[in-house]
């Protein structure tokens, strides 16, 4: 035993070590390529937000921070952004409230037509946006409602609801029903149980659904284009500008949205980790 302990530590032959290194690192190499592919467009957008390109932002003409100092510099860009944010917040609020209600109904209760409701909820997600947009427009016109701000909000609520339902329902499904039984066992009536146990536990799902709804609404072009009339939104602004060259301010706003989303996710993770450190 003593002799074995004193012997030099045997080393692996070089080819075994190389293949072991690849075995351990292949997934990392793959991940680096994957993320590069995903983030090159974002990086491009971010870099060109510093382009001193004036109205057209297609070729690099020099570094400037002027676009970041004055993001509303390009005509109409901030009006469009403001409209998109307003529509996004309203659509998020309504679709989150309605969608959460539907998710609880489908996830928790057995009623006639439950499975068909489940199916119908999926339909807007599966229907091509161009069809949804066109039929919503004709629907509004039949009811003599002119395209504009509120028809756009209604349209956005409609397609956001499905995503909210699916997201919240998944969270409800993962909720241990014994926790609610335990609350009832500990003298909490139905309302108290919902407020003190169910809602706090489902809240992360609802928050996620709200973020998703906002980004879907903010991002939407096709349905919005049909139903917003002359109202300008950020995606519409970018689309229209594209023919003449998108102003670098659009890159500033796009990059800001990306970083904002990143911050929300990182903070969310941090708070989540703080709650359960293991």
């Amino acid at each position: 035993m003593k002799q074995l302990a004193d012997a030099p530590i045997p080393t692996l032959p070089i080819n075994a070590r190389i293949s072991r290194w690849f075995g351990r690192n292949l997934i990392r190499i793959y991940a680096v390529f994957g993320f590069t592919y995903l983030f090159i467009p974002v990086l491009y957008t971010f870099i060109f937000s510093f382009n001193d390109g004036g109205k057209s932002n297609l070729v690099w003409k020099g570094f400037t921070t002027a676009n970041w100092q004055n993001p509303c510099g390009a005509p109409e860009v901030c009006t469009a952004l403001g409209n998109s944010i307003k529509i996004g917040l309203l659509a998020t609020t309504f679709s989150t409230i309605l969608g959460t209600g539907i998710a609880f109904a489908i996830g928790r209760y057995n009623f006639k037509g439950r499975s068909s409701t489940n199916l119908l909820i999926f339909l807007p997600m599966a229907t091509p946006e161009i069809v949804l947009g066109a039929s919503l427009l004709s629907l509004f016109l039949v009811f003599q409602i002119n395209p504009g701000f509120w028809p756009t909000v209604i349209a956005h609520v409609m397609f956001c609801i499905s995503f909210v339902v699916v997201t919240v329902k998944a969270r409800i499904a993962s909720l241990d029903p014994r926790l609610e039984q335990a609350a009832m066992d500990l003298y909490a009536n139905e309302f108290e149980t919902f407020r003190r146990v169910t809602l706090p536990l489902v809240a992360p799902g609802i928050a996620g659904a709200a973020l998703l709804a906002f980004s879907l609404s903010f991002d939407d072009f096709i349905i919005t284009n049909f139903n917003s009339g002359t109202l300008s939104t950020f995606p519409k602004f970018v689309y229209v500008s594209a023919t003449r060259g998108i102003p670098p301010q659009a890159n500033v706003i796009g990059s800001s949205m990306f970083f904002l989303a990143l911050i929300i996710v990182v903070v969310g993770q941090f708070v989540g980790n703080k709650r359960k450190p293991h």
Binding site: A182, Y187, P277, H278
Partner: protein
């Protein structure tokens, strides 16, 4: 919320409770009185209806028919939050978003109790975990979570505390320790505990009274010693420990005993331990009550001759023998290794004997293997 029902006190009475799920009858016309202050165990294999019974008592299931009373108060139609009953759930069901302190305070706050802090501190001291008050449940070990689940229930001082397989998720050593602790806490707080388990050792260690359940009915109810020494059915005889059940015929009586012919040998069984309906009986004897001797040794009491050792397992405190009898049945014998005599060997011819008072008799038409094919330790509901 504090109406008459939440302050009800007294014995728990289940009257003719039946619970059906479609065609399946989980609980079948069950009547039961659980005396105030007792430690009561519902013991049975998976699917015997014990958990459903517990859920009916807790108010988490409604009985199809029947009524439930605590003392004189009918709580059959009360919601679970209106009953003076708290439950320690199988996997504890601690609220993951609340601290340990808030978990324990939950019931007190819902009832609008004033001195929450004092009561919570006291009960956390009782379970010896006051230093964990500000942690979250996921930061606790299984044993600690178990104690917090218990603390969260007993802090409300319910008329009845229900424990649903409370120790099932713990390892053996911790389970033993918690068994002793639970019993101590029950004595300390003086509440009525109703404990559901499939683990016969757990039930016997803790409970004053055990009801053995099978297929929605109570097979037998009594103290652990009663059930073990004087089982009334083959299911109880096999589910609580192990039994040798030998077919026999009653030939006559001798004082307070029945004389039973088992394969042409005669043994005696006390009349008080006979649950036979006619002359056909299953004579029962626990393996550890039997003495094993080399053939030719004189023996007293009930004696069976002609055995041959088919298998020997030495397990430290005892040696277990499988002895094949002339009628081809193998009997189990557990012999304490306390006499310095070396164990007998496979193939040795032996005589078995035991004090006749240890024998019990079951009805001869019973299935001698009932309750033995389910290995209680492997089950989980």
């Amino acid at each position: 919320m504090a109406d008459a029902s939440t302050s009800a006190k007294g014995d728990l009475r289940l009257t003719r409770i039946t619970k059906s799920f479609g065609d399946f009858t989980a609980v079948d016309d069950l009547s039961l009185v659980i005396p105030e202050g007792s430690f009561f165990a519902l013991l049975g294999p998976s699917g015997c209806g014990k958990t459903t019974t517990l859920r009916i008592i807790a108010g988490l299931e409604e009985p199809t028919v029947g009524s439930i009373h605590i003392g004189a108060v009918d709580i059959t139609t009360k919601k679970s939050y209106q009953r003076p009953i708290n439950t320690v759930f199988q996997n504890y069901a601690l609220f993951p978003h609340l601290t340990i302190y808030e978990n324990v305070a939950f019931g007190l706050r819902r009832r609008g109790i004033k001195d929450v802090k004092e009561a919570v501190d006291k009960v956390l001291n009782l379970v010896e975990l006051p230093h964990l008050a500000q942690r979250k449940p996921t930061q606790l070990s299984g044993g600690q979570q178990q104690r917090i689940a218990l603390a969260r229930a007993i802090v409300n001082r319910p008329a009845l505390l229900l424990l649903d397989e409370p120790l099932g998720a713990l390892d053996l050593k911790l389970r033993r320790q918690m068994q002793i602790e639970l019993k101590w806490i029950q004595t300390e707080v003086g509440l009525t505990f109703v404990h559901v388990t499939h683990d016969q050792e757990e039930a016997m260690t803790m409970a004053d009274t055990i009801a053995v359940m099978n297929e929605g009915k109570i097979e037998q109810m009594g103290s652990p010693a009663d059930l073990y020494d004087n089982p009334e059915t083959a299911f109880v005889a096999n589910f609580l420990g192990q039994s040798n059940l030998i077919k026999g015929t009653v030939e006559g009586t001798d004082g307070d005993s029945l004389v039973v012919n088992v394969f042409s040998q005669r043994i005696k069984i006390a009349k008080s331990r006979s649950h036979a309906k006619d002359n056909s009986v299953l004579a029962g004897i626990r393996p550890e009550k039997i003495r094993i001797h080399p053939e030719g040794t004189p023996a007293t009491g009930n004696v069976l001759t002609g055995g041959v050792i088919a298998d020997v397992s030495y397990i430290g405190v005892s040696t277990q023998y499988q002895v094949e009898m002339p009628w081809k049945q193998e009997l189990m014998v557990f012999e304490q290794n306390d006499d310095g005599v070396p164990p007998l060997n496979k193939g040795d011819a032996v005589v078995l004997s035991w004090e006749s008072i240890f024998t019990f008799a079951l009805a001869g038409d019973e299935d001698a293997s009932a309750g033995s094919e389910v290995m209680p330790e492997d089950l989980d509901e």
